[in-house]
Amino acid sequence: MVTRGFTGRRASGERSSRLPPGQHVVDDFPVLSAGPAPRVAVEDWTFTLKVGPRPVKVWTWTEFNALPRNTVTRDIHCVTAWSKFDTRWKGVFIDDILADAGLDAPTDFVLAHTVDGYSSNVPMADLTGERAMIALEYEGEPLERDHGGPARLLVPHLYFWKSAKWVNAIQFTERNEAGFWELRGYHMYGDPWREQRYTND
């Protein structure tokens, strides 16, 4: 349905082709969260890889930073309809975490957990092949607390709530378990290009 009198302010040219439906480009970096941003000292931070309830490996901050670190530049898309282009992140690919633990993906589904009890679910296929990382830096600086510092999941090809802030564990699950927002009306997969914002979109 055409809205009477609306012309809009569309992105032009190449930028337009990078913008999923219903999204608009922002230049700042809005912050969204369900509750208080936790304060996490890196000395107290650990990262745990779990299969079901069983911890497979735990890294300290120092150990985790000794894993191979890579830089990616990606467009990110928030379900609240803003997109930000060319964001630069440095972190550890999920592939390298599994390799360090000597683990082949035992199931097809993962829950990312955070220090404040948030979680998000992502199929394993979306985390491998250098498509996802645990990000430790943004634009060359340690990740700020508001943006999930010291570490957040980065799955830039899905809506950004999947990229859980303050991440401290990833857990393989037998089934595709709903995470925090997925239990609260948001889509189980969250592909911006198919506008999978809410349940069963």
């Binding site: 009198g5 369900a34 609240t80 378990e177 609260r184």
Partner: protein
Amino acid sequence: MSNDTRTTDARVVRAGAARVEWQNATIVDIVDRTPSIKSFFFQLAVPFEHIAGQHVDVRLTAPDGYVAMRSYSIASAPSPEPTIELAIERLPDGEVSPFFHDVARVGDDIELRGPLGGHFLWPENSHDPVLLIGAGSGVVPLAAMIRRRHAAGESVPTALLLSSRTRRDVLFGDELFAAEQLGTGFQFALTLTREPPTRATDFGRRIDSAMVADVASRLPDAPAHVFVCGSNAFVDVAVDGALAAGFASETIKTERYGA
């Protein structure tokens, strides 16, 4: 399996829930609220009864098919009536809010869908005190909660701390002042950042921890639910104040108006 420490709300968790569909809504009234905020009243083709705190997504379509989408909190209380109120602030460099302020008129059809959101929700029938903290148009979902509380005849002790630039910028100001006079356990503290306060119980400065503690202390017990809505910077200060006052992190729910 999940170690999610927050409880989910049975009102919004429905296994296999149906998709929330787009519908046409007709603007039936437009009301100037403040110099930068207007209320738009929509008649829904497919009525729904939301939970106070939820939002709708609105989408506008240009003749060439270009679509812009934004989320707006619902300002009205849930009601069997087929009408909802959205209070939209005109953002100077915005794309959608200037359309509503400058172009939209009564009789226009607008596509929207809702209710959406399953976290920032009024805890109906709670007896434990509630603290609401908002700034500017961030009062919208909180106003829906206060309106719901009133419409349902609830008496749960509730305090609102609202920050505005000037008295003229206070959204729903008259209604909030009147609600406080009803004697149903609702207290309203206003802080103005660019004008002195006119009441002894109000403030004339930017929000800080002492202010949050002061307003919370007007409740009979520590709040079991804290809702904070505003800009990111505002929410950070309000949340730090709530934590400093000793309120558990799990009780604090935030909504940040970032974009």
